[in-house]
Amino acid sequence: MTKLHRLSQNSKWSVLYRKSEQVILGLIGLVCVVLLWQVTAHFEWINPLFISSPKLVLDAAIEQSTNGIIWAHFRITVVEFFLAFTIASIMGILIGMLMGWYRLVEYTLEPFIWLLYSSPFIAFYPLFIIWLGLGFATVVMIGFLLAFIPIIVNTIAGVKGTNSVLIRAGHSFGANNRQILLKIVLPSALPMIVSGLRIGVERALIGVIVGEMFASTKGLGYLISYYGSRLHTDRLLVSVVLVVLFGLVLTQFMRLVEDRLLKWQK
């Protein structure tokens, strides 16, 4: 143990080792879980109906992949997601900045934001269906509403957290309101905004999936619900895994963006 420790201390492998430590541990954990799963299913310690098995899921995955079902629905989910997230980001940041900077705007809009935050507006899905029709628009709407809020909240916090000395310096050098907002407040709020966007990404995905489950006939969420009601656990899990993977890719991407944008932080 000590030899390994000393090795990791002073060789150039040490950095590489520490970074990959997380990934390796994760992978080992994952492999263990999958093995456990397969064994449990094989010996039927738990009814395979409940948990299926890696092999069955894999078969189902290949089947759905070759006949294109999974990709058709996946494509729809992806498009809905990006639309919902993009609109939520743009509107969220804009409104968040206005609310963070102008006190009156904050006072008037705050109750509504709070209401949106605490209400299970998914319950309104029948109304959404009536207003926007079954499928695409409703799903995007739900994803948008869900993602919108953390983005606004974080943007407001970011704007309000701007160091007042920096703003004073801006005034001192003769910057006008617009310049102060763009050159000082916005960059200063960026860490929190990006944090909000990261949460927004998760929420948008969840919103889209939920929307598809309740208010659509297309998309991964719909597939999950469909197979769920028919107890096709293996096919259900294929979609679930795909959703999780998609979510992971998005989260990693956001992390990269975050690092890139905020390289000036220690």
Binding site: Q22, L25, G26, G29, L30, V33, L49, F50, G100, W101, R103, L104, E106, Y107, T108, L109, E110, P111, F112, L115, S118, S119, P120, F121, I122, A123, F124, Y125, P126, L127, I130, W131, A157, V159, K160, S164, I167, V185, E202, L205, I206, I209, M213, F214, L220, G221, I224, S225, Y227, G228, S229, L231, T233, L236, S239, V240, V243, V244, G247, L248
Partner: protein, 273 residues
Amino acid sequence: MKTAIFRSPPTQSRLQKLAGWASPRFIWGMGAVITFLATWETVSTLKIMDPRYISKPSQVVQTGFKMLSNSTFYHHLYISMLELIIGFSLAVLLGLLMGLLMGRSQIIRGLFDPLVMALYATPRVALMPLFVIWFGVGIWSKVFVVFVGAIFPILVNTMTGIRQVEPLLLRAGRSYGASEWQLFTKILLPGSLPAMITGLRLGWGRGIIGVIIGEIYVSSAGLGHLLNRAGNALRTDDMFFLVVVVAGIGYLATSGFSLMERKLTPWKEEKGA
């Protein structure tokens, strides 16, 4: 005479501490809400939009009274609260325990962290059909949804709370001769209390959403079930009222947690006050 207004960007809301009811924040907020309600009522009454699909405040209030005087409403409320409380309690037990262990011990954290992070990242809504397969259409699938939703914020916040306790404080404790147990009860616990309460608050919020969505998905009782029925029958008034009820529960809970936070952690400064 010109006075210099204390110019600085608006600070974080000072909430209930200051002026309270007479504060501009409250007045403007209330004003906005009242304007909105008035517009809503007008638009609906004048049939600018179809009142069947958007209802109106007066009708929602009426329906509300009707529902509240009907005992079945309380039965459903009871079911939802039951699912919520059982699920939440389980989450608190396991979440606090695991959070404390993981926060305190490097080894345990190393073992479980990847697993926890992976599970946290999984959208539990997507797993709801699976939960139904496991636990059936009764209250237990909802309890499980609440449990899964609430446990992660509680665990993660507790863990981070323990970890962020200033090592300097621990060092000071040790230099005064405190035992490990004393360090834990007198420094780590109080130090991580704010974070824990935050975790509880977040967990409760996710729990409420979980209950409702779970009941909408499949159930035979509960507020979400009522919502679903109302939705399918397009009883818009009912829907709005029920949503208000759920939001109300959320608000009470948030206030409750804020109160708890103030009582239990009076030393916490309000940021930007």
